[in-house]
């Protein structure tokens, strides 16, 4: 901990998950699945809490879907459930946008993330993965979260944005400060946000002098409502790509490797039959979906008979939706050949993750290259999971052979 920093305030343990839930509670961090299952047995599929200035969490697929589709009662202007409300909310469009501005802003970002564009990037990501594996394969073991999964999305997004890969550690620190530490500490969150904006603004300035062929230049020169996009929105968009494109996929790659390390039958099956890779990746996305989003209730309403008040937040748990047995048979089993899988890992409705094709490609390539070079491996120590908004392994010790 840095000098002068105070330790985070202790939060009382959760007494009742239906009326006092907390996604930062250690029980949720270690095994949220059992908590959601318990909550689904109640009449109301939405749990509430007075923490976070009042918040709800839907735990069924139908309730998550209903809220995702309802942009009238649920605004995206705040997308993280935090202890306080920072006003005005900082824009990171299009994730923080509502209709009608959402669509034109999202259309700026969609073309560079199509499957064809990702196919062009794929050989570079394959090279990144092999470069990382070269670094630890002789050791016979590694921390797959810290030495492998963590670096793949950072380097890929750095390539797309046109920023140095050496800045990756800085991006990861900012994300940790915004999505984990900053949820309970405004100062940490605001400082990380302004450092990111300064960093991105400096990238803009450099490109105004010497334009480059990358995503930052593209976004800077895009049009919004028939005019050049205002700098504040363009900076917010790049901030979004940095925040959303890193620890999410880091988590998904890590969770997939964690599953394969503890499930040798699935690991061996994928090694023998790589044609299972597409269904396996979709199943890892379903079962270990890392990302929750949030909405702010902007008009009193109810979902599945559960009342929600204006000003409260909603933790939109796509991971819980993906484990709902009413939607997915054997929802708590991981079936790498699951044929029908309408999972919601990338969200539902207009806010579908803009980087979903990138995430999928990175996961596929990361697992393929790992299995080619390290076909036998198992857990060799305790896995430590991140807390709160995005869930994935942050320490994942793995032994080879």
């Amino acid at each position: 901990m840095a000098d002068g920093a105070t330790p985070p305030k202790a939060r009382p343990p959760v007494q009742d998950w239906a009326t006092d839930w907390d996604h930062f509670d250690p029980a949720w961090r270690n095994d949220p699945f059992e908590i959601w299952q318990q909550l689904r047995r109640r009449n109301c599929p939405v749990a509430s809490t007075e923490r976070y200035m009042g918040a709800h969490v839907p735990v069924t697929y139908d309730a998550v879907k209903a809220i995702s589709y309802d942009t009238k009662h649920f605004s995206s202007r705040r997308v993280v459930v935090r202890n306080s409300r920072i006003d005005p909310p900082q824009p990171a469009p299009p994730i923080t946008s509502d209709p009608p501005s959402h669509k034109p802003l999202k259309q700026i970002l969609l073309p560079p993330f199509t499957p064809d564009e990702m196919a062009k990037l794929e050989p570079k990501v394959r090279a990144i993965c092999n470069d990382l594996i070269d670094g630890f394969i002789k050791d016979g073991s590694c921390d797959a979260a810290q030495h492998y999964a963590r670096h793949i999305p950072v380097r890929a997004i750095a390539l797309m944005l046109g920023v140095p890969k050496q800045d990756g550690d800085k991006f990861i620190r900012w994300i940790h400060e915004i999505l984990e530490l900053g949820v309970h500490d405004d100062e940490v969150s605001m400082r990380a946000g302004s450092e990111m904006r300064e960093y991105i603004t400096a990238q803009f300035m450099a490109r105004k002098q010497y334009p480059t062929d990358d995503l930052i230049t593209r976004v800077m020169h895009s049009q919004f409502m028939g005019k050049p996009i205002p700098d504040e929105l363009a900076v917010g968009m790049i901030l979004l790509l940095l925040i959303a494109g890193i620890d999410t996929t880091w988590s998904a790659i890590g969770a997939s490797l964690w599953h394969l390390a503890k499930t040798p039958s699935d690991r061996d099956r994928l090694v023998v039959d790589p044609s299972l890779m597409p269904t396996a990746i979709e199943e890892f996305l379903r079962a270990y979906a890392p990302v929750t989003m949030a909405r702010e209730v902007v008009e009193d309403t109810e979902v599945a008979g559960c009342p929600m008040k204006k000003g409260h937040m909603v933790l939109l748990s796509f991971p819980a939706a993906n484990r709902d047995p009413a939607m997915f048979p054997d929802a708590d089993k991981v079936l790498i050949d699951r044929k029908e899988n309408r999972h919601a890992a990338f969200g539902l409705g207009i806010h579908r993750c803009v980087g979903s094709n990138l995430a999928r490609m990175e996961m596929t390539v990361a697992i393929e290259e790992w299995l080619k070079r390290i076909p036998k491996f198992s857990l060799s120590g305790d896995t430590i999971w991140s807390e709160g908004t995005v869930r994935g392994p942050r320490q994942l010790p793995i032994g080879f052979g």
Partner: protein, 71 residues
Amino acid sequence: MSTPKRVRLRIDADKCQGHNRCKAILPEMIELDAYGNAQPKGDGIVPEALLEKAYLAKSNCPEFAVEIIEE
């Protein structure tokens, strides 16, 4: 023997959010616009050999945008 039916693939453009699951499963019949939204190629008539994949494209769409119409 039942009469062979003609099967047509349709995508509801209002529901499609560009998840691209159908494109991954059934690339032979799906094309994407510049924003990644899906449409069937040509008239959308599904050849016998692609029937199974077409039904999978339908049953994996997170937005329930893919429809199979038996004519």
